[in-house]
Subunit: 597 residues, 2 copies
Amino acid sequence: MNLHSEKLAILRNLMKENDIDLYIIPTTDPHLGENIPDHWRIVSWLTGFTGSSATVVITELFAGLWTDSRYVLQADKQLLDSEFILMKNSLHEQNNFNDWISENVEPEGKIALDGRIFSIDQTRRIERSSERKKVTFNFSSDLISGIWEDRPPLPQNMAFDHSVTFCGMDRSAKIAEVREQMKFKGVDYHLLTSLEDIMWLLNIRGNDIRYSPLLISFAIIGTDQVLLFTDENKIPLKLASEFDWLGIVILPYEETASVLSALPADSTILLNPSTTSSSLFKSIPGGMKIIEDLTIPARLKAIKNKVEIDNIRRVMIKDGVSLTKFFFWLEQNLGSVTLSEISLGEKLNGLRSENENYLGPSFSIIVAFNEHGALPHYSATINSAISIGTAGILLIDSGGQYLDGTTDITRTIAIGKPTARKKRDFTLVLKGFICLARTKFPAGTRGFQLDVLARRDLWDDGLNYGHGTGHGVGFCLNVHEGPQNIGQAAGPDSGTVIDPGMLISDEPGIYREGEYGIRIENLIICAEDEETEFGKFLRFETLSLCYLDKSLIDISLLTQKEIEWLNSYHAEVYEKLNPFLTSSENLWLIEKTKGLE
Amino acid sequence: MNLHSEKLAILRNLMKENDIDLYIIPTTDPHLGENIPDHWRIVSWLTGFTGSSATVVITELFAGLWTDSRYVLQADKQLLDSEFILMKNSLHEQNNFNDWISENVEPEGKIALDGRIFSIDQTRRIERSSERKKVTFNFSSDLISGIWEDRPPLPQNMAFDHSVTFCGMDRSAKIAEVREQMKFKGVDYHLLTSLEDIMWLLNIRGNDIRYSPLLISFAIIGTDQVLLFTDENKIPLKLASEFDWLGIVILPYEETASVLSALPADSTILLNPSTTSSSLFKSIPGGMKIIEDLTIPARLKAIKNKVEIDNIRRVMIKDGVSLTKFFFWLEQNLGSVTLSEISLGEKLNGLRSENENYLGPSFSIIVAFNEHGALPHYSATINSAISIGTAGILLIDSGGQYLDGTTDITRTIAIGKPTARKKRDFTLVLKGFICLARTKFPAGTRGFQLDVLARRDLWDDGLNYGHGTGHGVGFCLNVHEGPQNIGQAAGPDSGTVIDPGMLISDEPGIYREGEYGIRIENLIICAEDEETEFGKFLRFETLSLCYLDKSLIDISLLTQKEIEWLNSYHAEVYEKLNPFLTSSENLWLIEKTKGLE
């Protein structure tokens, strides 16, 4: 019996002792974020699967794991020697584990889970999935704490002040604006559970979560006070005294539920049911009126202010300089030095780390050569990494967290002379990428309306890609941060209206299994265009700065407007980056950015 | 006091007598269809507003009417002398009257309506809108029958058999297929309330509703019988005896609710909550399990079968011949004869009526010259009609009901030499129209994903149009018939996956208020394209056949692919229509369809 089977056996014993027929475990933490501290990586500890998104369902005779399409290959490998069965999810049905429960739970059985790490939306879906079976539920069942030996503690890292010179608006003004909106909505209290909401509101950043500068905390905004639930040792004294001055009260992290339960029952609270845990939700006093919606900070911080936008523009220059130096170095060393996916990643991260205000990578860098490029979210390991040969396609998706902004950019380059098919694929992706970047659209347009612009030229050739076209990006916060989004589904995210000031990625691709992957990604920001008799129109401005590999372009497929867009983008790249490059780098970049005719 | 004020006063008295604080009246009938018999045109009788879509709310001191954007101008005029206030609806908020009720109803007040002419979806929204006010509801309050003198009776016209040579599948096979799907869904009974569902299922057509060949009826499909609720005098004897043979039982229309209420309480019924009236819904026995979804016939009939598609192709030829003869005649007579919007409509309808299997127009013809073209859904009347001058833009949107298919086509032509701006507008609309017509897309694509294809070139110029891009079309049924749809919102309709066999319109436009309107519309049908490693791809085939006015095209704005599409379309138009035209018509059509270079 291997380690994971032992753990499963112990867990099943505990289920039996507690009379539980079915136990559910997620990959989330009490804040329902994308990246979580090791303390909450229960699925990885229990099953060996290390991906960031999965649900595990355990009964006496069944142990299954559901994940999304991008992790299927990885889960297949990692679960090979375990008792856990990988349940294949279809692309559009995220809730398949609910369907499974609905069909397989015993009538009048007992379903249990730890309500601290499930959103209220999730537990509602679970309840609905089995409502016909007259099941009973226990949503406060933590079976893990007692059996996980050597469980990593919650991180203990210091938070720090995030200066107004970076974020452009002081915390008291933000609190005042949120309170004004609360008043308008008739809300007395506003519960914040997403770390990025709290960071934005209080102009603080932390060091608790990998890839995002977040401090583990909850907050409740009232009419006079803001209650910040966190470890007070993590707040620097100077910041704590400023907080005190502004009516921001620091309380122990563990007391969030009990403070919530003591709020006046005749008052109104606003919260987001997809980021508020079932446990916190249930601690709210019975009579209290609950308004469920996106949080006010989530909407406010999605619209970047002028200072933030100016900062992001400057960040794009330093980030673009690092990328340019990297690609120059790569071309100089190709063939003479042995280069692997890992060493390239280290080189690029190293160049970025020399930049002012740099905090670290904004996600796990993707350096994927040839067939690895066809694996979405491929991350090279010592076992998987391959050397960069003399012919092929290299895809690099990377980004940095800076105090003055967050970046995320993908470039695909040819090593050696590319085939006609690779050029055609790249050029079709490029056409979609340009089409979205230069589109003009009426105010009020939603993300799902724009998605097809990046796909149409691919569709024409019978091609497509399985991921969204664009995700929202935070400001020195999460690299994936909504609510804005450009995707195919009309879900809550892609349904968000794209407003001026929203930062979003533009990243179509093509993935040919076993061969190569092509993706091109820039960050673009929504800006006002003109007002006509047909209403107000908006457009995107491209912010990321790095050349695109012309050796992969089949010019005959581009329209005049596309060529003009590309030439003008390349001219801007050279103009903005050249002051920070050596003369040999500049000579090289002049070639890379020379106009197409 | 005018007539409408008198009626309002009488109604208010009745409300007082019945202790009703707020009364709601819709423009629908018990089948929640788009066109309704005069018997149910309560809003028109009460207020004078004759549009097809409105909601009236009456309290002691308030009388308001909500309609959608296309009827605002008309309602403004028609309500001028009445006490009814036109409540301005914003484009995207169809339920504004609910918001008004939510804000204005007295706490603990009593809201009443006639539940026979509100869908259960609508009454649920009304309940939700005022749930905080502790209101009581009376959803079976018919205050109109008692006070409407000379109310038109329900129509008494005969139904007729719709031959399998037209519709391609006999009624017993359709019933069997629906029953198979019912079995799969675990459904014992299936309630049909939409007339088109019943017509499709039983291969009958009626003469009760203007513009659509429908018989007023309800139906309940059981495992052995189909209960058809209608006036049995309207069913020809031969058909009745065949019905008898197939287990189709004719019962009185008025008994639908009582038969529903007598169904076994331990069985399951499938119905569509947006087309089932609140009254019928409430007559279902308490314990019965209700599954709410689109009806099975609604999905089945949206996919046209091979015989239907072949018939539609033939219908398009005769319909296209009528249009061609019409435009030829128009060009011969312009300037020499006085032509008005009304006489043109009569001429075109007259030409169509000569065609085999013609039943009548599929909607109220739109012939709109210059500024009238900017009014969506303009319908010329003796008071409004203007003469066709020697310079301007003429928009004609028309269609026919044939036993072998339903048509809907819009052409915009220049009278005299068009200005550069008109040509630019027309060409941008044409680009969107072609883009949608020739797009290829993956199976599983939904209507809202494709909508932007028809708008993008307009957006680029700061232009847009306020209606959807495409509506589903029935087969010798309704000219507007979903569930498929191509629109901007991600509602239930535009959310429908576009499957092979679905017939849909492609009709972008530009409306310059006070100047002119441009719209181009063809019917297109979804067909299979190729299967690649990225999945199955679909495309549209254009079915409508009529030349587009080249004098309105600015060739410099078209891409090579667009020119090729247009030339090939024009070649097809000539090839298919020329055998049915006179030699002078053919000489003229050769010019109209000659290729652009």
